[in-house]
C-alpha cells in the first residue's frame, strides 16, 4: 500500500536508513557507548573515541581520503563556512580574491558575502545555460591574488555535476586552492579527492540517509592546506573545530557513508531508471522544459518547468506528493529561483519549475502515481491559465506589455 504524501524531496533531506538508526541508537544510553570521545582517563571515553575514529575512516574511504584529513562539523553549512572563511583568513596575506559561481548554495554564497564585507574580493561566475561552469571562463577569472576557487560538485536544485576533476587540475596548475561543496554528491557520484585535485571538500550526512546535524570537511594534508578555525574552545579536531564530538552523530554518518560506498553503483542505476520513467511520462506534454544538463546530472534529480503554470499553485495541486518549487512566494514580490535565473531562464519558466528528487525508498508505483497526478494537474491549471490561452491563440507573450505591480 502506498503511503501519502509520497516523498520526492530527497535533495532537501533523506530519512535515516534503518541500519544507520539502529547503530546510532547504541551510542546514547547508559547501556551504550555514551562516553565523551575526548575523555582520556577511562574506558567510556576510549570506546567512544574508537567509534568516532572508525566512522571517520568510513567517511574518508568514500572520498579516497586519509582519515586524518577529515574534520567533523555540524553539517555542510559549517563545513563550507570553515573552508571558505578559514582558508581566506589564513591565506589573506597571499591574496584577497576568491572565485565562485552564481548557482552555488547559500552556504557558500553567504560566507563569500561576509568576506566581501571584510575586504576580500569575490568573482561570481555565470554558469552556462546548462548549469555547468565553463573552464575557459574560470581560467580567465584567476588572478595573481586569487587564493581560493569554490565550485560545488552537484547542484542542489538542478542536480548538474560539475567537472571538478578538470577544475581541480586547473587550480593546481595555477597554484590556487580548490574547495568543493559535495553535500549533494557524496554517496551518489564517485569522489576521489586525489584524482580530482580537491583541497577542501564539504560533506553532509543527512543528504545520504544519515542523521541531520553532522557533516565533515576534508582538509588536504599533502600538500598541506591550512585553515583558520572559526570555532574555538578546547582545540578538538586538531585545532580546526572545537567542541565535544557527537559520538552517535559521527557513528551515524560513518555508517551512512559505509552503506553508500557499498551500494552507490546499484542504487544509482535503480534510481536513474525511476527518474527516466518519470521524465518519459512528463515530457509527452507540450511546453515542458528540463532545467540543467540532462546528461551531466545525478540520477535522482529531475527539475522541470511546466510553462504557463505557476509553481506554487502546482505544488498546492500536488499535495499528495512532497516536492519543491523554484518559485519561493514568500513576500509581496515573488522571487523566482536564483539558480534558474542564473541559467538565463525567463521569469515564467523559473516560476513554473518543480524539483522532483528520487531516492532509496522510492518505488515504481510511486513514480507512476506521480506521473499521472502531475499530468492531470498541469492540464487542469493550464485550463485556468490566461497565459496558456494566449499561447494557444498564438500570442507572443514576450511582446505583451504587462501591467507590472
Amino acid at each position: 500500500m502506498m503511503k501519502r504524501p509520497i516523498y520526492l524531496d530527497y535533495s532537501a533531506t533523506t530519512p535515516v536508513d534503518p541500519r544507520v538508526a539502529d547503530k546510532l541508537c547504541s551510542y546514547l544510553t547508559m547501556d551504550g557507548d555514551f562516553g565523551n570521545p575526548a575523555s582520556r582517563s577511562h574506558t567510556f571515553g576510549w570506546r567512544a573515541e574508537q567509534a568516532v575514529e572508525a566512522a571517520r575512516a568510513d567517511v574518508a574511504a568514500l572520498i579516497g581520503a586519509d582519515p586524518k584529513e577529515i574534520v567533523w562539523t555540524s553539517g555542510a553549512t559549517e563545513a563550507n563556512n570553515l573552508a571558505i572563511k578559514g582558508a581566506a583568513h589564513f591565506y589573506s596575506k597571499k591574496g584577497k580574491h576568491l572565485i565562485t559561481c552564481k548557482t552555488e548554495h547559500k552556504a557558500v554564497l553567504d560566507p563569500c558575502r561576509q568576506l566581501e564585507r571584510e575586504g576580500f574580493e569575490v568573482t561570481y561566475l555565470d554558469p552556462e545555460s546548462n548549469g555547468l561552469v565553463d573552464l575557459g571562463k574560470l581560467a580567465a577569472a584567476i588572478r595573481p591574488d586569487t587564493i581560493l576557487v569554490s565550485i560545488m560538485h552537484v547542484n542542489n536544485e538542478i542536480g548538474v555535476i560539475q567537472d571538478v576533476a578538470a577544475i581541480g587540475t586547473l587550480c593546481r596548475e595555477k597554484g590556487v586552492l580548490f574547495h568543493s561543496d559535495a553535500a549533494q554528491s557524496a554517496g551518489k557520484v564517485p569522489i576521489d579527492v586525489n584524482g580530482m585535485n580537491i583541497d577542501l571538500l564539504s560533506l553532509s550526512a543527512h543528504k545520504i540517509y544519515g542523521p541531520k546535524g553532522i557533516g565533515a570537511l576534508y582538509v588536504r594534508r599533502k600538500p598541506r592546506v591550512r585553515i583558520e578555525a572559526q570555532i574555538h574552545g578546547g582545540g578538538h579536531e586538531r585545532g580546526m573545530r572545537s567542541g565535544t564530538l557527537a559520538t552517535h552523530q559521527c557513528v551515524g554518518m560513518g555508517e551512512a557513508y559505509r552503506i553508500a560506498r557499498e551500494e552507490m553503483a546499484t542504487e544509482g542505476e535503480r534510481i536513474r531508471v525511476l527518474r527516466d520513467r518519470l521524465f518519459g511520462a512528463l515530457k509527452e506534454m507540450p511546453e515542458v522544459y528540463v532545467n540543467g544538463d540532462l546528461d551531466h546530472r545525478v540520477p535522482g534529480n529531475l527539475n522541470i518547468s511546466f510553462n504557463f503554470v505557476e509553481g506554487e499553485s502546482l505544488i498546492m495541486a500536488l499535495k499528495d506528493i512532497a516536492v519543491s518549487s523554484g518559485s519561493a512566494c514568500t513576500s509581496a514580490s515573488l522571487e523566482p529561483s536564483y539558480v534558474l535565473r542564473a541559467l538565463g531562464r525567463n521569469d515564467e519558466l523559473a516560476h513554473s519549475s518543480i524539483r522532483f528528487t528520487i531516492g532509496r525508498f522510492t518505488t515504481t508505483e510511486e513514480i507512476d502515481f506521480t506521473a499521472r497526478l502531475v499530468r492531470e494537474k498541469v492540464n487542469k491549471l493550464r485550463e485556468l491559465s490566461p497565459l496558456w490561452e494566449m499561447f494557444q491563440e498564438g500570442v507572443d507573450l514576450s511582446k505583451v506589455q504587462w501591467a507590472a505591480h
Binding site: E312, S313, C329, L334, D347, E383, P386, E389, W402, A403
Partner: protein, 135 residues
C-alpha cells in the same frame, strides 16, 4: 503555507472559469499582473443594457490565493451594477478568504482586475458613442 478552507474550496472548485469573446461590445476585459511577478489575472464581465453585470468569467495564472481571489470576485460581481462592482475593495476579498499578509497582493490584483474590466467596458461603450456622434 497553510491555506484557509475558503481558499482551498475556490482553488479546488474554481467558479466561472472561462472566457468571453473580447470583441463583443457587451464584454469588458481586465488583464492585470505580469508573468514575471508570478501572477496574471484575466477577468471578463458581461454587462446588460441596464449596466448590470449579468455574468463574469476568469482565468488566472498564479498561486492558490490569486486563483481563489479571482474566483470569489466573479461570484461577487454577478448581479451588481458597474458602480457597485467598482466599490469592491481588496480588503473585503482578503477578509473573506482569510488571506495572510504575504498574500494580500492577490486581493489587490483582483480589485485591479475588476476596475480594469469596468474601464474596458466603459471605453468600448464610450468609443461607440463617439463614433455615433461623429457620424
Amino acid at each position: 503555507m497553510a491555506y484557509s478552507d475558503k481558499v482551498l474550496d475556490h482553488y479546488e472548485n474554481p467558479r466561472n472559469v472561462g472566457s468571453f469573446d473580447k470583441g463583443d461590445p457587451n464584454i469588458g476585459t481586465g488583464m492585470v499582473g505580469a508573468p514575471a511577478c508570478g501572477d496574471v489575472m484575466k477577468l471578463q464581465i458581461k454587462v446588460n443594457g441596464q449596466g448590470v453585470i449579468e455574468d463574469a468569467k476568469f482565468k488566472t495564472y498564479g498561486c492558490g490565493s490569486a486563483i481563489a481571489s479571482s474566483s470569489l470576485l466573479t461570484e461577487w460581481v454577478k448581479g451588481k451594477t458597474l458602480n457597485e462592482a467598482a466599490q469592491i475593495k481588496n480588503t473585503q476579498i482578503a477578509e473573506e478568504l482569510a488571506l495572510p499578509p504575504v498574500k494580500i497582493h492577490c486581493s489587490v490584483l483582483a480589485e485591479d482586475a475588476i476596475k480594469a474590466a469596468i474601464a474596458d467596458y466603459q471605453s468600448k461603450t464610450a468609443g461607440g458613442d463617439d463614433k455615433a456622434d461623429a457620424a
